[in-house]
Symmetry: C2
Subunit: 380 residues, 2 copies
């Protein structure tokens, strides 16, 4: 990974193409290359229809002045970015390309909360879930209830996730919601789907993030700082939550992590920080157990003790996560990778995790029906 760029996440006024171009140009500049060095474009996006542009690759490549460069769009709901990154990675690893643009983008807030919620519900197993009123807050609330009962966790424990991610997001100039909150603020925020309250939920965001991915030889030749991808895995779960045996774990995360650790030949304890999928506070708790950072049922306790804060044992979501940085769904997975690049190349400012060598990103689609995990190493 030779460069990375991102727009601010939030309510953006530019068109989806302008947003995408802004992140792409940042990534290109950051990599010290020019558009003509790009051999293919991998784009992740879910609801291009919302801003009236699908078939986005030709439009983006044409606007970058490289209309002959082929591209495509990959969709896997909120996990689109990480799943797309894996395809871009696979194509480089297989020798099909030397240097590609991996770009995630979403523009949704202009449709309003009702229309956004309707569109997002199409990411669930619509026959069993969305079409019967099972919204994402409701589905994650079910997971939270079962988890809280099984492992004696409390609403305060969930709130600690939000407080910590906001604490980090304040230090991220690109974050959507940069506001210090307290456990009490979370507990007193309006109930969305009990036990989840407003501050347990990530926002709807617009935004784009992009990275330049190349093979090792290309990176070395550039004589610039780069970040190595050393592991990658993909997994799947039964689409509908009701079809899962245990809803305090997400099978796709477990499978993707297993593959990624195996490929990287390292263990969860070797990871120095992770960006994980915290669409709701309960998700982060489940994620960090599924990723092997904490034994099953203990994460809530460890979070309370500060283990996931920037100076903790395993910092989680130093960027602010989906909760504070924001969740432009097609961009989110790439945004996590951008954070790793910035952390490992001295661009993370006050949120830098000192002496970190290995980082992990984890991003899933819908309630975790699809997921991808990537592991990165800092290069000196």
């Amino acid at each position: 990974m030779l460069g990375a760029g991102s727009t601010k996440y939030g309510k953006l006024n530019e068109s989806i193409i302008e947003i995408a171009l802004n992140a792409s140009k940042d990534a290109i500049d950051s990599a010290g290359i020019t558009p003509k060095d790009i051999q293919a474009g991998y784009i992740s996006n879910v609801f291009g229809v919302a801003d009236r542009q699908v078939h986005m690759a030709p439009v983006i490549m044409s606007n970058l002045g490289i209309p002959h460069v082929p591209g495509l769009t990959i969709e896997s709901a909120c996990g689109s970015g990480s799943v797309m990154f894996r395809e871009a990675y696979a194509n480089i690893a297989a020798g099909f390309y030397d240097c590609v643009l991996a770009l995630g983008v979403e523009k949704i807030t202009h449709t309003g909360t009702t229309q956004s919620t309707t569109l997002f519900s199409y990411c669930s197993d619509f026959f069993y879930e969305g079409g019967n009123g099972a919204s994402f807050p409701g589905l994650f609330a079910s997971m939270a209830r079962v988890y809280m009962t099984a492992y004696k966790a409390s609403e305060e424990d969930l709130a600690h996730v939000a407080v910590k991610n906001h604490e980090n997001g304040i230090l991220n100039p690109k974050a959507h919601v940069r506001r210090k909150i307290t456990v009490d603020d979370v507990l007193k925020s309006p109930v969305v789907a009990s036990p989840l309250k407003l501050y347990d939920c990530c926002p709807f965001s617009d935004g784009a993030s992009a990275v330049i991915l190349c093979n090792e030889e290309y990176a070395k030749k550039s004589a610039r700082p780069y970040v190595e991808v050393i592991g990658s895995g993909r997994g799947a779960s039964p689409a509908a939550v009701q079809a899962r045996e245990d809803i305090t774990t997400i099978p796709s995360t477990v499978a993707a992590a297993k593959q990624a650790y195996k490929m990287a030949n390292i263990a969860p304890k070797d990871i120095d920080f992770a960006e994980v999928h915290d669409c709701f506070t309960i998700a982060e708790i489940i994620d960090i157990e599924d990723l092997g950072f904490f034994p099953k049922g203990t994460a809530a306790y460890s979070i309370r003790e500060g283990a996931t804060r920037r100076n903790g044992e395993i910092p989680i979501n130093p960027s602010g996560g989906l909760k504070s940085k924001g969740h432009p769904i097609g961009a989110t997975g790439i945004g996590q990778v951008v954070e790793v690049f910035e952390q490992f190349t001295g661009k993370a400012g006050d949120r830098e995790i000192r002496n970190a060598e290995y980082a992990l990103t984890h991003n899933f689609g819908a309630t975790g029906a699809s997921a991808a995990v990537h592991i990165f190493r800092r290069m000196e």
Copy 2:
């Protein structure tokens, strides 16, 4: 390619997931495998939102009884199927998987012609084209006008493409529009965007097509008839038609074909039949010149002489093409590959091209902003 299946193309009443499952099950049966042999799912689809289901892979895999198998959706407008096939192929070729499901699906007709047309316009460069009233019939009409002027082709020449494809489609039980038409019928059909008339345009269709793709060792072990992929290429053009130097050629086709021929190490004259992207009659004329079957400006003449009929020098669209078989946009590119499989495994019935050894598929997105070409060899 070890198996292939397809639903009928046309106006279908089942849900998008049911349609997808029907084609998938056909392909699985055709390959003599069971769902548990599938290691990944590659899906192509453009407007899942129209039937309220995106993030389709987990839903399809769950319904096939293999919820742990990861999948993703690839979109490249009307060229989604062939672009997706290439990614599936690349992943197999690179050794990431031994056996995958490559499935294209679309369900759109229930939204009505107006809404379908609106959605489809999002596949153009919306800023320059769709958003300013430049619809696909209008854009292809511009290409037709320029071509007709430059190469002295006539409206009758365009009509011959439609007549020939309907002639083939009558023999295809899965085709959407199975009706013999004459040149006169085409000329007298209502004008859509002069010089294109109703019968110069393909229909909006629902449908799904699927193939089972595996590595050579896997195919050989199966001791079943299979079809070999020997070449594959991808290309891109300036997104907006107005930005192209010459609109009687499609740069993405030329680039994709060049790559595919080079990889297959064969020449256009070696191809025994081809499935090409005839969204409008003019497109087929441009395609078969861009693919190298006829010198520039001569295709219309050759078509008139019967060169592209089933018993001609180079049969084009024996399936009936988009014009008669139909155009369920996310499925179209895979439907072409299904036709090759059926032709090469004795399943094409009366439309079989005798003694064919090499076949080519060509599928593009929108006005050809993206395209992919694949070349196949019959195995004895």
